[in-house]
Symmetry: C2
């Protein structure tokens, strides 16, 4: 019989962004098996309603549970913001999002108790980062700003284009004025604009990428629950990738950001779950 600690971790995102979280997990938890699901048929989540994001997240959770995962990581800020509580209320398995680890890291980073948060429309509208941060430390001022053009600019390869600089200035002028000293990149695509954002806000800004903190938290939870897999893999199936559409395009992108070679991506009809 398989021991529980041998089971894989399930990771999901609305698309490819969550790969940055998985990448960090591979670094910090090299012995774990990971199953990734990207909802490429219904991406993006950031412009959609809480109801539908909860519905999609439940379908994906049921799919991952069918793969016998031991823990689920919501590697997507929008789904973490809108669906974490609903999933934790319905499913027995440990489920972790990226918002709480990101909030904690930002509180540690700020010296002057002024934190900026950038994210999708849905994440910012939920106000979750402000709630979590002020729940942890009530005297912190939080400025949130939705930046819907960041994802399309990154996906269109405009990272180095002057237009991106103008869009950053458009969104972040109020943050620069407010002189925040820590900034949470509250969307998994945004770390790709990290250096541009730092340049605009000034080199003293502490940029928090929740992916790193999330991987740390996962490590802690696995250890606390005796779920760690400490044995080096001989299994070639250590990392498995599923999407709901366009496997080839996903795989091409995955191979540009992942430290491993992604040679197979399976398509799932996620509506059935």
């Amino acid at each position: 019989m398989k021991r529980k600690c041998d089971l894989p971790i399930g990771v999901f995102d609305s698309g490819v962004g969550g790969l940055t979280v998985m990448r960090e997990m591979i670094r910090q938890l090299p012995h774990e098996k990971i199953i990734y699901f990207g909802d490429t048929a219904r991406v993006p989540y950031g412009s959609k309603s809480p109801n539908i994001v909860v519905h999609f997240s439940k379908q994906i959770t049921r799919f991952l549970l069918g793969k016998q995962v031991k823990l689920i990581v919501i590697a997507c800020n929008t789904a973490s913001a809108l669906a974490l509580e609903a999933l934790q209320g319905q499913f027995e398995i440990p489920i972790i999002g990226v918002v709480i680890p990101g909030a904690r890291a930002a509180i540690e980073a700020t010296q002057i108790n002024k934190i900026g948060v950038v994210g999708t429309d849905a994440t910012v509208r939920s106000g979750i980062y402000t709630k979590i941060i002020q729940g942890m430390q009530s005297n912190i001022q939080v400025l949130e700003k939705a930046c819907p053009l960041f994802v399309p600019l990154v996906e269109e390869g405009f990272k180095e284009h002057p237009v991106t600089e103008e869009v950053i200035a458009h969104y972040l002028a109020s943050m620069r004025e407010a002189e925040i000293d820590a900034m949470i990149l509250g969307c998994t695509h945004y770390p790709l604009l990290r250096s541009r954002i730092m340049k605009y806000l000034g080199e003293k800004i502490q940029i928090v990428n929740p992916a790193y903190e999330t991987a740390m938290d996962i490590k802690g939870i696995l250890a606390a629950q005796n779920l760690e897999n400490n044995v080096a893999m001989v299994d070639t199936e250590q990392y498995v990738f599923y999407v709901s559409d366009a496997a080839e395009k996903f795989q091409e992108f995955a191979n540009t950001v992942m430290p491993i070679s992604v040679s197979e991506t399976k398509v799932v009809n996620i509506e059935r779950y």
Copy 2:
């Protein structure tokens, strides 16, 4: 018993863009009942695979058939490009897309047989406009260009922002160089950038918005098949709106572009169809 000509026309799009087609239908076909469906849960289609766009389009067609429509309009360039044939092969009802009417209008507009087409990634990758145009008139040169940033820029309210001018120049430089004299706006959002695009390409350019031509075609098909409704409505339910997510946001937008007041939008679980 209801006569067939009294039945509504079904119109669908991946989101709100198809409202520009419906608006034109209201103008040209004031006596027709129209049922609109916007797939706001899964928008956009333009970055997705042909398989999934066909799958979504079939679900929506089944939903509309359940509402006893007499004709279906695919008011979305991507779905017209990728799914029209599949739908026509499977369903008995007349189904019309926006690509053929747009292509025909552009052929009429060009004097020098050089047409430009802008659209989503999926539409341009399909090469459908080139195929249809050259199938109608083989000596026409067609330049197609995907412009994935146009939709997010419009949706973010950047219509008048200088950034939009730069992005237009980025995408359309090769078209300006090639001195096309007719341009198809092959995505229902793009007419909102019409004046900016004209300014860049020069006032002599003929801009084709397939919405107008599509409404003309619908009129012709209804007449040919004796399906026209020529009686003025007393029915308050002349226009009915369905979406798969975020009804309120949809309705807010609809009320900014439609010549009628949209007071109700119903949410449908489209996966069930």
